[in-house]
């Protein structure tokens, strides 16, 4: 057996209040793909950042080719032959594609000046080698999300490295681009590079990985060869229990029509979207990331203005021009980007919860704190929020608990329809179950729930009916009875049509 190119040993890293990594180790071998597997928040990205000089580990050592090295900056990691496609897009809209690829390590001429010509040429070469079909000289902002991701990949490849790290590189790519990425990974393997591949998608892992390492709660809980290990085993390591019990059994008691959206259109984002939700129903919205589901929901919520279409709520036509209008009408929205759109960071829990309900808690426009605390307590405790007090700043809460604050905020408004956009994205398995259970309770109480999710098991496990979107259009609406996962994937990816064509 060959020696690993890169070895991590005893790495620990803590953030205020969070132990992100605890005494983890990892080996990467030349010409092999190692998959790093773990639930959200398991510490995968944190490890990537310690390997690329962005975070400094609290303890532990990093060895490259047997030599212990320090990585004080992002540059030093590149110099040590480590490069990464980060989970967050390290991209700059206003700069050109070529510069996005070379920012920080641009080629210079003998006067130390950036050599734009070489840079553009090399960038184009890299892009062409990936068959990306991107012109290196255009500004990045002219590209769509998938192409942007390819630029991020090209950026990583522009560094001459022995170790290539890919943190969820396929999350934003369509099937075709994913296939191209696989080809690329094969090429890199042949080149003798060591690859660390992070993904939540098992089909992918089984297809390209040679080895795996599993993290749970910042600790390493297992490793081995992919071909020797069945998927169920890895899942058990990852979650600590078996997966099928995650979704609560539920007896659907579906009533009359509550929300009916028809022909909703937007000049650039979506067209002719129609769907309806009944009382006590969970309507799933499935699609690949970037299918336009969030845009549709935000139009229903009054954030963006649709160009056409009608929204009928309980028989009355509504046209919310702002979220405030939508909330007044009884439609609420739990957004996808929790930190940016969901919670008012910097404010305490109770203020977050009472914000949309101030009319109820106040008297003649004057605040009544006692009422606010009461309201906040009622709903946060129902959701089993974990916090030290109601005055705790929401930014100090974990992702799952922040999500609970957002949901509590909306429940307090006594809505008719609640839209949950990726409600369990980035939240831990326990909270996830709590959210799912709670969704069950919501519909049991007669609310209507719209759940946007990119997670197939979640969509299949929770929805009564499923709307599938692709490229801004509704492809199909299907009943969730004996539905095969493959059906949904095909619909979402448009594979059926492609085969037909």
């Amino acid at each position: 057996m060959t020696d690993p190119i890169l070895t991590l040993a005893g790495i620990s890293k803590s953030f205020p209040g969070v132990r992100a990594l605890h005494d983890v180790s990892l080996e990467l071998y030349a010409g092999e793909v190692t998959a790093l597997i773990g639930e959200n928040g398991a510490g995968k990205s944190t490890l990537v950042k310690t390997m690329t000089g962005i975070y400094q580990p609290d303890a532990g050592e990093i060895r490259v080719g047997g030599r212990v090295i320090a990585l004080p900056t992002a540059h030093s990691a590149a110099d040590a032959g480590i490069t990464a496609i980060h989970q967050e897009t390290v991209l700059f809209d206003e700069l050109s594609v070529a510069e996005n690829i070379y920012l920080g390590h641009a080629p210079v001429n003998r006067f130390g000046m950036i050599d734009w010509k070489t840079m553009r040429r090399e960038a184009q070469l890299t892009l062409d080698s990936m068959a990306a079909g991107i012109d290196a000289s255009i500004p990045l902002k002219e590209l769509g999300i998938a192409k942007k991701h390819l630029v991020a990949v090209a950026r990583a490849l522009s560094v001459d490295a022995q170790v290539v790290i890919m943190d969820e590189p396929t999350a934003a790519l369509s099937q075709k681009e994913i296939e191209e990425l696989y080809v690329l990974v094969e090429l890199l393997k042949k080149d003798g590079k060591a690859i660390l591949f992070i993904s939540h998608k098992f089909d992918e892992i089984y297809r390209i990985a040679d080895r795996y390492t599993v993290f749970r709660d910042g600790e390493q809980v297992g490793k081995g060869f992919i071909k020797d290990t069945p998927q169920s085993e890895i899942v058990r390591m990852m979650v600590g229990r078996s997966v099928d019990q995650i979704f609560p059994a539920r007896v659907a008691d579906i009533g009359g029509m509550v929300l009916e959206v028809s022909g909703l259109s937007h000049p650039t984002e979506f067209d002719n979207v129609s769907f309806s939700v009944k009382k006590g129903e969970i309507l799933g919205f499935y699609g690949l990331v970037g299918a336009g589901r969030s845009e549709v929901m935000q139009a229903v919520f009054g954030m963006t203005k649709p160009s056409r279409g009608t929204i009928v709520l309980e028989g009355k036509s509504v046209a919310p021009r702002s979220p405030a209008d939508a909330v007044d009408a009884g439609i609420v929205y739990v957004p996808e980007e929790r930190g940016k759109q969901g919670v008012v960071t910097g404010e305490p829990i109770f203020k977050n919860v009472s914000l949309p309900s101030l009319k109820k808690t106040s008297r003649n426009g004057f605040l009544r704190m006692a009422e606010e605390f009461k309201l906040a307590r009622t709903y946060t405790e129902r959701l089993d929020l974990r916090a030290s007090s109601l005055s705790q700043n929401v930014s100090t809460l974990s992702g799952g608990n922040q999500q609970k604050v957002v949901i509590a905020k909306w429940l307090a408004t006594l809505p008719k329809v609640i839209i949950l956009d990726e409600p369990t994205k980035g939240i831990d398995i326990g909270s996830k179950a709590a959210v799912h259970e709670f969704m069950g309770e919501l519909v049991a109480q007669g609310l209507s729930v719209i759940m946007v999710s990119s997670e197939l098991p979640e969509v299949l496990g929770m929805s009564d009916r499923i709307v599938v979107m692709r490229e801004g259009l509704v492809v199909d609406t299907v009943d969730n009875t004996n539905l095969q996962p493959e059906t949904l994937v095909r619909l979402a990816a448009g594979i059926i049509e492609e085969q037909a064509a």
């Binding site: 919520f301 954030m303 979220p323 919670v343 203020k351 914000l355 949309p356 426009g365 905020k409």
Partner: protein, 334 residues
């Protein structure tokens, strides 16, 4: 109030004693600073501790402080208004016009001043919220525009001849040494305090400043509130224009030049975060008082105004840097 949840836990309202956080607050720092300056002034100048002196002192800052109250709200939402001084110039000019050309009586003059301010504020508000332009740039533009209009109207002329009862707004006393300006400021401060800290409106202002997107997603009408606040700042500038015009008894287009930076200094010194989301009216009132004390105290020593500004500039940086340095020092020790 001992009800518990199914899990048997109960979330307390707050953990720390509210009294303790009051003691350690920014406002108490400002109170200490104010007291220190007061004592310093009293010890270096025999003329300081005199009711009339102290009363005169308030004239140096009340007009700016009135605007600072509204500006604080604008800055808490993360915006800024640099055009306030120019609004004063335009409002004052239109009042002069109303008096000299149209012969308006005093109540109408006051109305003209306030409405002009309101209109200017609405114009700013429209550009910022309607056209989605950055407020700092918009108000740099309107700063030239508003004062420019005053120059177009007045040129090298001036308006004077304001009636006696009008002059009372800027020169009159309500009781003994208590001037009308001071009383108006104190009333306004109480109103702003209540609005910002005790009403839904104020709560929403903070939410916008902390995270405008999330606030919007929570059903706060962000643009409408920002618009109202720009109008309010314009309105307070109009009020300040009435007071200043009445105090000076005349109008020139160059009136109130440079006020905007003094106003913003008051707001920032008062602990309002320039990035939005934090601040208190009490802090702003204290900061106005501190600036008044510093400038008046130094004035009694005949220190030129420009040298005073070194003190206010340094005060601004030091008072903001101190807590940061303190935290850094504590962290290093830990």
């Amino acid at each position: 109030m001992t009800d518990t949840t199914a899990t048997g836990r109960r979330l307390p309202d707050r953990l720390n004693n509210p009294l303790k956080s009051t003691v350690l607050s920014w406002e108490s720092l400002l109170v200490l600073v104010a007291i220190a300056i007061f004592i310093f002034n009293a010890s270096v100048s025999p003329y300081f501790l005199n009711a009339w002196s102290l009363s005169d002192m308030t004239f140096n800052f009340t007009e700016k402080a009135l605007i600072a109250l509204a500006m604080a709200l604008v800055i808490i939402t993360g915006e800024i208004d640099l055009s306030v001084a120019s609004i004063i110039a335009l409002a004052s000019t239109l009042m002069g016009l109303a008096l000299n050309v149209l012969g308006f009586p005093t109540p109408m003059l006051v109305l003209v001043g306030i409405l002009t301010g309101l209109a200017c504020g609405a114009f700013n508000g429209f550009l910022v919220t309607g056209l989605k332009l950055p407020s700092i740039v918009v108000t740099i533009g309107t700063m030239s525009l508003f004062r420019g209009i005053a120059f177009i109207i007045l040129g090298d002329q001036s308006y004077g001849g304001y009636p006696r009862d009008f002059a009372w707004f800027g020169q009159g006393y309500v009781w003994w040494v208590i001037s009308f300006e001071l009383v108006l400021f104190l009333i306004a401060a109480v109103i702003f305090y209540v609005v910002l800290h005790r009403t839904n409106f104020g709560r929403r202002i903070f939410a916008i400043g902390n995270n405008a997107t999330a606030a919007e997603f929570s059903g706060v009408r962000v643009d409408r509130i920002k618009f109202v606040l720009f109008c309010l700042t314009g309105l307070m500038s109009g009020v300040a224009a009435v007071l200043l015009t009445a105090r000076l008894g005349s109008t020139r287009p160059s009136i109130a030049q440079g006020f905007e930076l003094d106003v913003i200094t008051m707001v920032v010194l008062g602990g309002v975060s320039i990035l939005g989301g934090a601040g208190s009216i009490l802090g702003v009132v204290l900061a106005a008082l501190i600036i008044g004390l510093v400038t008046f105290g130094l004035g009694l020593l005949n220190v030129p105004g420009i040298v005073m500004s070194i003190f206010t500039g340094a005060l601004l940086i030091v008072v903001i840097a101190l807590p940061i340095l303190w935290n850094m020092w504590k962290e290093r020790r830990a």
